[in-house]
């Protein structure tokens, strides 16, 4: 099997050796990515922080025994983060007494202009209401900037299936947000 080039290889090695600077650098490099992944997958800031923290804890435990060349560390970390998100999403589904998240506002009120923050919130709400697999595909490919191969492998689907999920997700977002014209919102 061909060895996989990993831009994080040296950093992971140093983290595994307990290098404090490398630990700080790993936090700078990966914590924002894990937090963004969890925020967009879960739509809940507090839960996202818990997931990001837990994913990083697992990174610390994994680093000393990480074997370079078999996988990208970033892809492995995304697998960890996604699994933590899945766990929480499954718990939500299985909790009959839990009240569902409030239905987000899906349209501008008459007395409110389309400020940038409002628009961003509406995009996030539209993302949150995509079917789970479509949301996952959009989050991994568009926001986390994984390749088609990486995202398909993480989702355990073919690249064709991934493309189908992406297309359907993007189409649904366009329909939901049809009244927004990017570039016209206030700052």
């Amino acid at each position: 099997m061909a060895l996989i080039a990993d831009p994080d290889e040296d950093l992971v090695r140093r983290v595994g050796q307990g290098d404090p600077a490398a630990i700080q650098a790993m936090v700078a490099r990966k914590l924002p990515r894990m937090l963004a992944l969890a925020q967009r997958m879960l739509g809940d800031a507090a839960e996202a922080e818990d997931v990001a923290q837990d994913a990083m804890l697992r990174a610390w435990k994994q680093a000393p025994r990480w074997t370079p060349g078999q996988a990208k560390f970033d892809t492995w970390l995304h697998r960890v983060g996604l699994n933590l998100c899945y766990d929480r999403l499954r718990r939500r589904r299985e909790a009959p007494t839990a009240s569902p998240p409030d239905r987000p506002d899906e349209g501008p009120s008459p007395d409110r202009g389309l400020m940038a923050a409002d628009v961003g919130s509406r995009v996030n709400a539209a993302l949150a209401h995509l079917p789970e697999r479509q949301r996952e595909a959009v989050v991994l490919c568009h926001y986390q900037e994984l390749t088609n191969i990486e995202a398909a492998a993480l989702m355990e689907v073919s690249v064709d299936a991934l493309e189908s999920l992406l297309s359907r997700g993007r189409r649904a977002l366009r329909l939901t947000l049809a009244d927004i014209r990017p570039g016209t919102e206030g700052g």
Partner: protein, 142 residues
């Protein structure tokens, strides 16, 4: 590259060629260059969705979260063995400097850096600052 495949590709990946699958990117770009009229409408539509997606914002990690995550490294066994918290205090300074250096780099470059690239720049700056401050394995871990 067929017209059908090109349209399917941008419906999934958007109008930005940098996001297109690497193994099809060159062929798709050539197709678009050869058939500008045929692809214009689809590219405009895909670009509109890209622009919508770019409007999504997420919170950056708070300092409290960063502190908890760094502390968890010690809990996981990745702790300095000799200098107690001194290395952490010095690196907190380095971390702040790393943010500043990365921000300056973005401004100086005059480009809109993606979150991913910004994070990488911060990480590099932290490692650089740490090297200047002499915080290394030899000193800290002995």
């Amino acid at each position: 590259m067929t017209s059908e495949r090109f349209l399917a590709l941008i419906a999934a990946w958007g109008a930005d060629a940098r996001r297109w699958p690497e193994d099809e990117r060159a062929a798709a770009q050539a197709f678009a260059a050869a058939h500008p009229e045929a692809v214009r409408g689809a590219l405009v539509e895909a670009n509109a969705v890209d622009d919508l997606l770019h409007l999504s914002r997420v919170a950056h990690p708070s300092m409290a979260l960063r502190d908890r995550v760094i502390a968890s490294a010690a809990g996981a066994g990745l702790k300095a063995r000799r200098e107690g918290r001194r290395w952490l205090d010095r690196l907190t300074l380095a971390f702040g400097a790393g943010w500043a250096v990365a921000a300056c780099a973005g401004v100086a470059a005059g480009v809109m850096m993606t979150t991913h690239l910004t994070a990488d720049a911060q990480a590099e700056a932290i490692l650089y600052q740490a090297s200047l401050m002499g915080v290394d394995d030899t000193e800290v871990l002995g």
